[in-house]
Symmetry: D2
């Protein structure tokens, strides 16, 4: 495999700069275009970019993607705000082309693996609960990743024909047993000094299995971006979520 | 120090048998009397017991203790059901004697140390939360030890003039942030395969301190009983809680 | 699926008794024969056993398995002492039959999942080390499971073309960096009060992933035995290791 | 207590800047002088500094401290390179004055508490081992803090008349049981993504107690610096180590 020519959209943003650095440092990638607000998209075609990474804004991302698809440029997208309507529009543009686009809410390989392992293990353990721990300036509880994990685990249990986890609690202080997400208990801690951490605890008679992900620094998403860049050319059409790129 | 002559009340119960075994195995103790329901308390005086361990029943414990105090026998008591009235009555009997009686709800040295360390650390950390994990047949949530820890930590924070732990949560699923015990958040997990576990998590900018106690087997209370037996002769009067015996 | 008629060999041993109890409690299994030393193997055929569980002794297991294969009875085997010669002999007997035999050194589903997840995650993390924690009466260090995990992880890294994990240690006390198993560092703790625990820690820039298995009680192997019993009829021939039974 | 007037030596260094920020943010402190290489020490006296924080270099720290002592300015010192000769010289200068000087190798309150709790708990647990986890660019193993913890724990055990922790290991791979520091086993992991973490694991029959410190960011030392600043005026003479400042 030769070197992949990569353009970065949102190159001057905090995330974009980290992406530029990572692409620059990767031996099999070449950073050929840094595009930010105000720069013409033609920079991409003129520089011969084969793929782009887009961490920009919901207001501009659709125009950028339309340009990329029309010019045969693959795209790895971390920008938020994709609802079903947008995803359908994207699918329409991609139809009949060889272009691959990945839209993913989370590029942390560790978070994706944690969710996958939790799902794989779910059918073997009658008990499962989730603990997430974050800095105390976080606005929502539980975290989006914890909710998503609970939903995936709940679905896996339903598919395996499992009933609710055992719980004989008869007297409890309000909130002591956490939040209920599709029947799975989720607990959120807010602790100064922490960044973003999650633990899935599964239990069966005599044993427990714990899968823990600690995210200490934003740089942790760049391996997922590089992994996606390396695979995107062989994945024509739209893919949602990094999960399926970790498969082979 | 010579050998301590020990009698066990409730010697045939599950806990009593474990106590007998532990006393028997301790080099500095001699098990001289095993007393159970129906046996005369005089067995204690006849065998020359210097101290007793009592894990019996609220219905009989006061009579046994009166007998012990009258005969100059020290007592280490794990039997439940001691309210203020009972403790006052005990104090009255002990007044003017050299007899020492310890009444403790929890003989786990580890649980006592965990609480003490949490209290000592509390003033240095703006954030603190408690997670307890137990088998799913437990009826109450959070556990008594977790509540007690939260109360002690809350008191230590008040004494140090600290305000509430930081928490910017603005949208939360019900229960996601745990129960509120005196302003401290407490989370209870119920997992098959677990026994009794607790974690106190403290946080300040850039660092966290975690104190975790795992209790895997009931035998874990016997060291606390032995520790109390060895000290009880030098502690005349009534002591409540194992804590103060860990001090010197 | 109807009820599976199960015989247990070594039914009076500590493990065998636990197996009998588990089979008895399983709704889809019927315990039809308890065989121990001195009992005739014909008990199995007379009781109509369709499958057996064998936790006996290396001296007798081969005779029992020969009998089972000849009489069309599937076997789930936890007895130790299987070398290549024995496995080959077993394969010879099974050749041309519909009988399924599983020989597994470890029936803990959690241990098997931990190893599988470690292998799946290995390629995404430049760093990986293993910590095992056991009771202090264990004779070998590191544990067999930890060694096996290290070997599997090392193989996965080689296959992915990865070099050695980063380590800038230039001055170290002897043993500080653990044992080297195929290039993977393995650390063994011996702590009173612990049973059998293992943690695989993987790290990449800004994030770590930890997979932990706690085995607190011997009963933890029975789910693996039941899982194997339910699948063994559809797995003719010899299978080594519970891993492949967790696949579908 | 009024506001404390503080000068910072090494104010332009990485650590010094963090100290300046912390002093500036503290309500009971006023940052009155930022001194760096080339600046005259008289800045301190002219600005009316009552105490200084010194994170500079072994080459200059002694001159600065002499100046401070002569001018009645208290000092909190994190600069390295203090051997017995230097400490003795400092004591000589301080003799007969009211000036307080603290020299501490580690200003992390959490690390100090972890060590203290490990020492307090040591006598109650027959088993104890230490695990430290750091980034893979660290040169020494085990870490200085882990060694120090092991030495303190070993001393506490000796004082309590305890023998070596139980360990029945008879066959081991080299290094599997960690390094031996005064009879205490210490294990060092090197994992990309980690910063500085340590766990002291204590065990007795049926229970374990774990004290874990996670240091994720350099800012974690500033609370220790502020705590020392607030106390230094009441501690005339030389103090070595932050420990004794956490006592009252």
């Amino acid at each position: 495999m030769g070197t992949l020519r990569v353009g970065v959209l949102g190159a001057l943003g905090k995330v974009g700069r980290a992406v530029c650095e990572a692409v620059d440092a990767a031996e099999d990638c070449e950073l050929v275009a840094r595009v930010d607000a105000g720069d013409p998209l033609e920079t991409l075609t003129e520089s011969g970019a084969q793929a782009v990474v887009d961490f920009t804004h919901p207001d501009v991302v659709m125009d950028s993607l339309r340009f990329c698809v029309e010019h045969g440029i693959h795209a790895v997208v971390g920008t938020t705000g994709f609802d079903d309507e947008r995803l359908d529009r994207l699918r329409g543009w991609l139809d009949g082309t060889d272009v691959g686009v990945l839209v993913a809410p989370n590029f942390s390989v560790g978070a994706v693996l944690m969710m996958r392992f939790a799902v794989e293990a779910a059918r073997y353990y009658e008990s499962v609960e989730i603990l997430e721990q974050h800095h105390p300036t976080k606005a929502d509880a539980p975290s989006g990743t914890a909710r998503r994990t609970a939903q995936l685990v709940a679905a896996a249990r339903r598919e395996a024909g499992m009933s609710a986890p055992p719980d004989a609690t008869s007297t409890a202080l309000e909130g002591a047993r956490g939040a209920d997400v599709d029947g799975i208990r989720v607990h959120g801690m807010r602790i100064r000094g922490m960044v973003a951490h999650q633990e899935v605890v599964l239990g069966a008679p005599g044993e427990t299995l714990t899968i823990r992900h600690d995210s200490l620094d934003r740089v942790s998403f760049t391996p997922g971006v590089l992994l996606a860049l390396r695979a995107i050319a062989t994945r024509p059409g739209l893919t949602v979520g990094l999960e399926s790129f970790l498969d082979e």
